[in-house]
Point group: C2
Chain length 296, copies 2
């Protein structure tokens, strides 16, 4: 796949996902809750997870309706996790996607409720009653998303993160944390896309390995950018992890080794895609590059 074709595809999909999110986050949730949810979800973010869902669905020639709902659902979970992660009791951050964080704008209690409602909404989006998505696919998507979001996945990773402030972690422990905290949802994005079509067991495993590598690469690069980029470029507070005395790939490995690690993970993602034998995995291939080569 050519880079230009990828860019055309991804720009189109970003528009589609934005419209779909706009349609599914209700403005009329009561007492300002809808406003807080929309503020948290719309007009921001790289939408990497939705693109992974849609690219994986394309790789397996998956159905469109399920894939688009899965794309919105993973983004809702991601967005809710950012809202809760930014709260004063967690990272206490005031800037996200270049805007004041949700709790700065709407208050701490409303931010927490908006996150809670966004998590529920993700599962609502996955279970339409209009016949557009097979019930068996709905159940499969809910299963994948719930496991990635919960105690064994994202929430568990955040608990480790919370407990690791000021403590030295070795690379193994750091990887375990990030495999859960960010990796699980990124891998689930790939697998939810894959669930929309047909795969055999080795292909499923290859896509899982691809998602695992991309998920970890994403965090390694995040840690690199946290020390090499300004807040204005990132749209969030740079240098935050260092200030918070949190272990990162850069503090554990050093900057050069962290960069080399990101390259190794890019290669692992490529190898996994090759192993899948899927002919139409070009979008996934370029997405892995974008994750590693991004500057914000």
């Amino acid at each position: 796949m050519k880079r230009d074709d990828f860019d055309t595809w991804s720009l189109g999909e970003l528009d589609t996902v934005e419209s779909a999110l706009d349609a599914c986050v209700p403005a009329d949730a009561p007492a300002g809750l809808g406003d807080a949810m929309r503020y948290a979800v719309l007009d921001g973010g790289k939408r990497l997870r939705p693109l992974l869902v849609l690219a994986a669905a394309n790789a397996v020639h998956g159905g469109r309706a399920g894939a688009l709902r899965a794309a919105c659902a993973v983004e809702l979970i991601h967005a809710y996790s950012l809202v809760h992660d930014d709260l004063p009791c967690m990272d206490d951050d005031v800037l996200r996607r270049g805007k004041p964080t949700v709790h700065v704008r709407f208050g701490v209690a409303q931010a927490m409720l908006a996150g809670d409602a966004m998590q529920a909404l993700a599962f609502e989006v996955l279970t339409p009653d209009d016949g557009s998505v097979d019930a068996s696919l709905q159940a499969r998507l809910c299963a994948l998303l719930a496991r990635a979001a919960g105690g064994a996945g994202m929430a568990g990773g955040q608990a480790i993160d919370l407990a690791s402030v000021g403590r030295p972690l070795d690379e193994q422990a750091l990887s375990d944390m990030h495999r859960r905290k960010t990796g699980a949802l990124l891998r689930a994005s790939v697998l939810m896309g894959a669930a929309c079509g047909r795969t055999n067991a080795p292909q499923w495993q290859a896509l899982s390995d691809y998602g695992d590598a991309v998920g970890l690469a994403f965090q390694v690069v995040d840690d690199i950018l946290d020390v090499t980029q300004a807040s204005a470029t990132l749209g969030k507070t740079a240098g935050k992890d260092l200030d918070n005395n949190k272990p990162t790939y850069v503090t554990v490995l050093g900057l050069d080794a962290a960069r080399a690690h990101a390259e190794a993970l890019r290669e692992a993602a490529r190898v996994a895609l090759d192993r899948s034998g899927l002919a139409d995995a070009g979008q996934l291939r370029i997405l892995a590059d974008r994750v590693v080569d991004r500057d914000s």
Copy 2:
């Protein structure tokens, strides 16, 4: 159904639900998260929602595996909502089910994460991959639970609650708040049980009306108990709503009219069950009585 038979049934089911919850909330979620989740869920609570699920499933001769999972899932959602509701940014409560609240015991951040993980776990519980529950039922249960928990339901009700502190609400607005905040999940408990078996459209509507009446009755009685019972009896801080300057059925209607309202809702629940024509609704009938007649 005789009261004794009901008591035998409910005691047995409470044991079963406790064991099922014990099995589904993992002790090994990392960094103490599992401990916080188990503390929040196990050894406490009236388990009204699980009993409603199981009673409704019995009324429609529903499958056991799905009903038991639904019972655990609604309780997980309920328990998570209590954890978040007790946080300092919300009700700032220190006592729940006769024990220190989760954030008092485990810290605010861990309590928030435990609640988040419990919500995800509810959907994980509903989507087993062992073939024990039909995929179409899994999807239906997720759909019902997500809608009850989200912005149009429980989380939305909490947002109204948050916005209503110190403001006069009329009975209509108060009912709207409680229909969402507590009523939606209680009604969903009934409907999730009903989804485990066969119902026609009028029966479904009758069970929905029953759930609606019981849900509202529960809150009216809660408001009455808040002013008539001591903290020790309730296992939570009594007089809390008054202290927080929150509108309740007692402040809006007065104590006598609140009691009369609870009786009217009990009658509405009975009428709905009669209308359903379901021969085996005896457990649901007694549960409505227990909701109105309880003293804690």
